[in-house]
């Protein structure tokens, strides 16, 4: 659906993205991750034909985004970051206007506008001025607009930014449902969201692709970030000394709270040291009230790839 080859964009000589190569297949939900300024918005704007790349090419549904921009745009529903909207228009008026711009056939406009209004939960604000809407509703108007012409591909630039947790959950559900019929490329900062919704993830850093894989594979590849948490009363023992001797344990951090000590253990990937810890605890007569394995999250992957020094 999307094919990107050696895409590069420079601003006044400064590269924003360099030699990006990736593909998004039909029906995929692709997550686009990266720190601020990594080049996510730049890439999305190029795909949406808002600006041309410095070099390289990108196609949408087989149409070059620069050479055949009009056809490419017709296949695309794009929701820009911060969702700029005309605040002097009413919700339905705006959607009618957008439907005409996107070439929705005249007799289908009312039906399509009704559908997206229903889908995005805009029924109760349909007659309101967009300028008076809350951030959550504006976001939904943007999403409704992107869906109007039933595009094959949706590009959503931070669709959940500035929403409260309930709204984030609603938007996430909506995106999941949309993924059944549409190909989606979405960027976000909220990593659990990507784990829950996306079938594949691209992590981009300083304009380059650092990783492109399924969330599961990315987690599997991650080194060193697995960990175990132990909370125990160790009596006269030091605790940390003994724990370090267990094979597979790399590092132990201790937090004391009276008699109770909280040990955070960093272990080698694939190693499960909980059994060893249990044996040690019984042998030394430690009283244990918590022993859990902390699973590596996509956040760890993200931090490791984009900030290697902090891990």
């Amino acid at each position: 659906m999307i094919k990107v080859e050696n895409l590069t964009k420079r601003y006044a000589g400064q590269p924003a993205i360099q030699d990006l190569n990736f593909e998004v297949g039909q029906g995929e939900i692709m997550g686009f991750l990266g720190p601020n300024g990594a080049g996510k918005t730049t890439t999305m704007r190029i795909l949406a034909s808002f600006m041309p790349p410095t070099s390289g090419r990108a196609t949408i549904a087989g149409f070059d985004v620069f050479e055949q921009s009009l056809q490419a745009r017709a296949h695309l529903g794009y929701m820009p970051e911060h969702v700029p909207l005309y605040s002097d228009m009413r919700v339905t008026e705006y959607l009618d206007y957008r439907a005409a711009l996107k070439g929705v056939p005249h007799r289908r406009v009312a039906e399509r506008v009704g559908d997206v209004r229903e889908l995005c939960g805009l029924k109760e604000v349909e007659k309101k001025l967009i300028g008076t809407l809350s951030k959550g509703y504006r976001q939904r108007v943007g999403l409704a607009d992107a869906l109007l012409h039933e595009p094959d591909l949706l590009i959503l630039d931070e669709p959940t930014i500035g929403l409260d947790p309930n709204q984030i959950r609603q938007v996430r559900e909506l995106i999941k449902n949309l993924g059944k019929q549409h190909t989606i490329l979405l960027s976000t900062h909220i990593l659990p969201e990507v784990e829950m919704t996306c079938s594949r993830v691209i992590i981009i850093h300083k304009g380059r692709i650092e990783a492109c894989d399924t969330p599961e594979n990315l987690l599997g590849k991650i080194r060193q970030v697995g960990g175990v948490v132990l909370e125990a009363k160790v009596g006269p023992d030091n605790g940390a000394e003994e724990l370090k001797k267990i094979s597979g344990v790399r590092n132990v951090i201790v937090d004391a709270d009276g008699d109770w000590k909280l040990f955070s253990l960093r272990v080698e990937s694939g190693a499960d040291v909980r059994e060893e810890i249990f044996r040690l605890a019984t042998a030394r007569h430690w009283i244990v009230r918590e022993l859990t394995q902390r699973r590596a999250t996509l956040e760890d992957v993200f931090v490791e790839l984009t900030h290697p020094d902090t891990v």
Binding site: R45, A48, S49, F50, M51, P52, L70, Q71, R73, A74, L76, Y78, P80, H82, P84, L85, Y86, S87, D88, M89, Y97, R98, A100, L101, K102, G103, H106, G142, D145
Partner: protein
């Protein structure tokens, strides 16, 4: 065509959604009303050779209001979209650049023409009350309104170009105000500098909005100004289109 119509109707509606339209309408109605009143009362006091209609379109009041309205009408056209970022959803929809440029130009033109509806009633009311014609002939009306259209097209296209250059509406207004005023005074030079050659004077005469309005409001339709203004409008719109396209590369 349907996309163009959707764009155009949004442009026209957005004028009436913002206070600026009403400010311009009231300001314009006030100035043109005062102009009309002064001309009629002036003509009541002495014997003159011209008609009310000619006097109305050739007074200081008229020109003062005239050069002032164009920056007000055009400053928001592109600058506001750039500022608010609404240009992004607009240009990522499948619309062509020229459709956007033309819809903005014609949107402004429609609003400008709406401004000129009330003054047309002045002459009708004048005729009703006094029983005297406000102009020599119907040609004088069509001449002056044709000139209004031509001048309006040209000055609005300058305003469009100024607005596409910046995301700051004030800067857009200042650029178009300076350009329009300069052009306007260029036409006045021939009245001030008496020792210039007749060739220079003729050349400057081509730019003289006052002179063109003078001839047209007498009902004399000269084709030279028509060609001049239509050509200049097309040139300005082509420049606007170019500047609008080049913006993508400078983002």
């Amino acid at each position: 065509m349907r996309k163009f119509y959707a764009l155009l109707s949004r442009e026209v509606r957005s004028y009436f959604h913002s206070p600026i339209a009403y400010i311009v309408l009231i300001f314009f109605l006030l100035i043109s009303g005062v102009d009309f009143y002064f001309q009629v009362s002036f003509m009541n006091q002495r014997q003159v050779q011209y008609t009310v209609q000619e006097a109305f379109f050739n007074s200081v009041f008229f020109w003062f209001a005239f050069v002032l309205i164009f920056p007000l009408i055009t400053m928001r056209l592109f600058a506001e979209e750039f500022k608010l970022g609404t240009i992004e959803p607009l240009m990522t929809a499948p619309v062509r650049d020229w459709q956007v440029v033309l819809s903005k130009f014609f949107g402004a033109l429609v609003f400008y023409l709406i401004l000129w509806v009330p003054p047309a009633f002045y002459f009708i009311i004048f005729q009703q009350i006094t029983g005297q014609p406000a102009a020599h002939s119907a040609g004088a009306y069509s001449g002056s309104y044709l000139m209004l259209l031509l001048l309006g097209m040209f000055y609005l296209s300058i305003g469009c170009f100024a607005s596409v250059l910046t995301k700051n509406q004030i800067i857009a207004a200042v650029i178009s105000f300076c350009a329009i005023t300069l052009l306007f005074f260029l036409g006045l030079v021939q009245f001030i500098l008496l020792d210039v050659s007749s060739a220079t004077r003729d050349l400057l005469g081509y730019f003289s909005a006052i002179e063109h309005m003078g001839t047209f409001s007498r009902g004399v339709i000269d084709t030279r100004p028509i060609v001049f203004y239509v050509t200049m409008t097309i040139v300005m719109l082509a420049l606007t289109h170019r500047a609008f396209q080049s913006r993508k590369w400078r983002l």
